[in-house]
């Protein structure tokens, strides 16, 4: 997975426990902390899992908890810092943004060789709710999606509740509801 995604673990660790916490986690995942993560470099997926595993050990959180934090963090800090304009360009409200998710990842995938971005589609479930269908080549990242969505909710000032439905063979559905924006 691209360094820019993994970087959220680094940012999260730094904001939670400073440089030393990040060094601990990086070391646990076998990463040279001096070089750190390159955001435009495609890393093997194992590194992502290793980072999550290492963070889960160091922070005594479950991997899913780490993934969710990791997702929130990505939206609120990592993405904001490096890709602020992209985030903005993807939509000014939750619904638009979610509607553009697939388009965005499609463009990213075509622009950055070596990436394999997830696919998204959505159905409206009423004025403040929608169902998001997520398809990925990778396993076990449901909690990451949920964290990302909660991050988006915070970003737009419309806190969301995310319900993860049982995963199916090739996709996973989420039911997302939010309060009407003030």
């Amino acid at each position: 997975m691209l360094g820019m995604v993994n970087q959220a673990v680094e940012d999260m660790a730094r904001s939670l426990g400073g440089e030393s916490l990040w060094l601990k986690i990086a070391e646990g995942a076998g990463l040279d902390p001096e070089v750190g993560l390159l955001r435009m470099e495609s890393y093997p997926d194992e590194l992502t899992y290793a980072l999550v595993g290492s963070a889960s050990q160091v922070l005594s959180l479950s991997p899913d908890q780490v993934l969710e934090e990791f997702g929130k963090h990505w939206i609120l800090y990592t993405g904001e810092n490096g890709y602020g304009q992209l985030l903005k360009g993807a939509g000014q409200d939750l619904k638009t943004f979610i509607g553009n998710l697939d388009l965005l990842h499609g463009k990213v995938e075509s622009l950055i060789p070596g990436t394999r971005c997830p696919r998204f589609s959505s159905q409206e479930l009423g004025p403040n709710c929608l169902r998001l269908i997520y398809r990925s080549h990778r396993k076990g990242l449901g909690a990451l999606v949920s964290g990302l969505l909660k991050g988006l909710g915070e970003r737009f000032g419309t806190p969301v509740s995310v319900q993860i439905l049982d995963p199916e063979e090739d996709c996973q559905a989420f039911e997302i509801c939010w309060e009407q924006a003030p």
Partner: protein, 640 residues
């Protein structure tokens, strides 16, 4: 039409009068106020390129084949435009926004979804943003590299300095080259750092190469000390996984001091040998006159009856004897040092050997008022195989010491035997030894304290001789001691149980009788010794012709025949060995050729005794000679 508008969400359709008929959603999102049916096109947009001019239908139709750039009147947004003529004289203006940054999208209140599916300007913008990220990454990476590089340079300099100080160069590379050579290696070998070299070039410096030191042997790995002119180099090569790494170090200084050390060691060894030789020489030089003193004293004691004089003579004898003990110690020590102490293993009957020894030592104990006990294990084997002389020597030394240093109480000698080892401990209730002195106890010339020597006498060699003897006999010695309470010396020697040997051939040395007319020649250069010998022969009822050297002895032989010759080995003009050889060769007349010859050696050294036998002597006596030894040596000539 709807499809067209979806493909071009910024498009407009105008009628023949250039009034707006329909519009794309995204265009209206940006300028909702003017985006109405019937609005004049010129109210909405104006032309920028090919040139800003009033827009007429004809003009529009004229630039159908070329694109135009338009600008929205209400905002800064530029639009790329293409004119398409539709039926009913309508004109389709296919606009796409010209975006210069993603930010602009946000400022216009647009998002990704508002752009046409075929519009890839957004990709460029995303690309730009991603590139920015990549640039930032590579800047950071360059910084990391720079600082790592600086660190590497620092380390390299450090290594170079270290190599310079250590006079060492290094190289590294795959076994079949090419190698990287450290800067100091060039310096060490006197090469310029620019020169292109490989290992074989370096080796060529040492030509001619040897079987031990060449490229093939080097690549096997190892350490090689080689000379380059005056300089010594040590090559150390490691081979691991087909990579070679190695160092070359200037070890001239080391070699030099090694050499000096070796020289010093040789000198020390030579000095030590000289010391041993000197001691041995001195001791037998002293033994010769001692022989005289003791012999003459014995003779006097036999003839003097006056008690006062006898006491004095006895004192002389005792002093002489203790001097002899010291001399023997020194001689033993130098024999052990030079590896000339013989070990003679034979069957030994333990019980009599030990009891006799204790009997010999008990007068000393009695004199000192100290008890002496011998405790032998019940299951002691009757016979063992060991060297009885050395065994006795060790026991009597230890027991003698114990008595010497004990003022009251007793000395107990315990004997046990297990696993072919004979173990003997000598425990006393004497003054004991301080812990700090225990360790040095067995070193030669060391007594527990210097003051001990003054009070108790002795050479300080006894214990070190004991230790060496025990080791020679396959054992060792140890000591435990509590100052003020006593010491316990424990030693063990290899002594496997043995069978009793066949019946002994030795008869007790009871009075032997010699024919009074035995013709005897004595050759001895030392006057005192001559007297002693004559006196002793007299006691045996014999008399002799006496000469002072070998040459005179030979003359005497040529005059008369002898049954017995007692010949000193060391004499001026012609020594004893020479005389023996000549007599045996017949130079001293035929009858004398078979005379019984006993040689007298000053050194109690087997080497000399062997020499005598080789020259043709029948027996030998070592000085100082006692009456019984003389008697014993002459046994073959005794009567009956």
């Amino acid at each position: 039409m709807k499809v067209l508008r979806q493909l071009f969400p910024f498009s407009l359709v105008v009628n023949r009068q250039l009034k707006v008929l329909t519009w794309g959603d995204s265009l209206c999102k940006v300028t909702p106020e003017v985006c109405r049916r019937g609005t004049d096109l010129s109210q909405l947009v104006r032309l920028e390129r090919p040139h800003s001019t009033e827009v007429t239908r004809d003009f529009l139709l004229s630039c159908r084949r070329q694109g135009q750039i338009w600008r929205l009147n209400t905002s800064q947004l530029n639009l790329r435009g293409q004119v398409v003529v539709l039926p009913k004289e309508r004109i389709f203006l296919a606009f796409t926004p010209v975006l210069s940054s993603l930010q602009q999208l946000e400022q216009l209140g647009l998002d990704l979804g508002d752009l046409g599916v075929l519009d890839n300007s957004i990709e460029f913008l995303m690309q730009a943003q991603l590139q920015e990220v990549a640039m930032a990454d590579s800047t950071r990476l360059r910084q990391v590299l720079q600082s790592k590089n600086a660190e590497l340079t620092r380390q390299r300099l450090e290594l170079e300095t270290a190599q310079e100080i250590a006079q060492l160069g290094s190289f590294e590379g795959p076994a079949d080259g090419p190698y990287v050579f450290s800067r100091n290696l060039y310096r060490l070998l006197g090469l310029s750092a620019q020169s292109q070299i490989d290992l074989s070039d370096l080796l060529a410096l040492y030509a001619p190469l040897t079987d031990q030191f060449n490229l093939a042997s080097l690549l096997q790995g190892g350490t090689f000390d080689v000379q380059l002119g005056e300089v010594w180099h040590r090559w150390t090569v490691y081979r691991a996984n087909d990579r070679i790494s190695g160092t070359v170090q200037d070890i001239s200084l080391q070699k030099h001091s090694e050499n000096q050390l070796l020289q010093a060691k040789l000198t020390a060894e030579r000095a030590n040998q000289a010391k041993s030789d000197f001691l041995a020489m001195m001791s037998h030089e002293i033994r010769t006159p001692m022989n005289g003193v003791l012999g003459l004293t014995e003779l006097l004691l036999n003839s003097v009856t006056e008690p006062e004089l006898r006491d004095m003579l006895d004192l002389i004898r005792q002093s002489g004897q203790s001097l002899l003990v010291i001399l023997n110690d020194i001689l033993d020590y130098s024999r052990i040092e030079s590896g000339q102490m013989p070990v003679e293993l034979r069957e030994v009957q333990l019980q009599p050997l030990l009891s006799n020894l204790m009997q010999l030592l008990s007068p000393q104990a009695e004199r000192q008022g100290v008890g002496l006990e011998l405790r032998m294990d019940r299951d002691l084997p009757a016979w063992v195989r060991t060297d009885p002389t050395r065994l006795q020597q060790v026991i009597s030394n230890l027991v003698g010491n114990a008595i010497k240093f004990t003022h009251q109480g007793k000395v107990v000698c315990r004997v046990s035997h297990r696993d072919s080892l004979l173990q003997i401990s000598v425990q006393d209730t004497g003054i004991g030894i301080a812990p700090e002195h225990l360790a040095r106890l067995f070193q030669p010339f060391v007594q527990a304290e210097a003051s001990t020597t003054r009070r108790y006498g002795g050479t300080g060699l006894g214990l070190s001789i004991c230790q060496r003897l025990c080791r020679m006999l396959g054992g060792d010695i140890a000591v435990e001691s509590v100052p003020g309470q006593g010491s316990c010396f424990r030693f063990w020697v290899a002594a496997p149980p043995a069978q009793a040997p066949g019946p002994s051939l030795c008869k007790p040395v009871a009075d032997l009788n010699f024919a009074a007319d035995l013709r005897i020649l004595v050759a001895e250069d030392n006057l005192v010794n001559r007297r002693v010998l004559m006196g002793m022969l007299g006691r045996l009822g014999l008399s002799a012709t006496v000469v002072e050297n070998g040459r005179l002895g030979l003359c005497e032989c040529q005059k008369q025949g002898f049954d017995l010759m007692i010949l000193d080995v060391e004499m001026p003009e012609m020594d004893g060995l020479e005389l023996i050889r000549r007599v045996r060769a017949g130079e001293g007349g035929v009858p004398n050729r078979d005379a019984y010859i006993v040689s007298l050696t000053a050194q109690a050294r087997e080497r000399d005794q062997e020499g005598c036998l080789e020259a043709g002597a029948n027996g030998f006596l070592s000085k100082p000679v006692s009456l019984s030894q003389l008697q014993q040596a002459l046994r073959p000539l005794a009567r009956g």
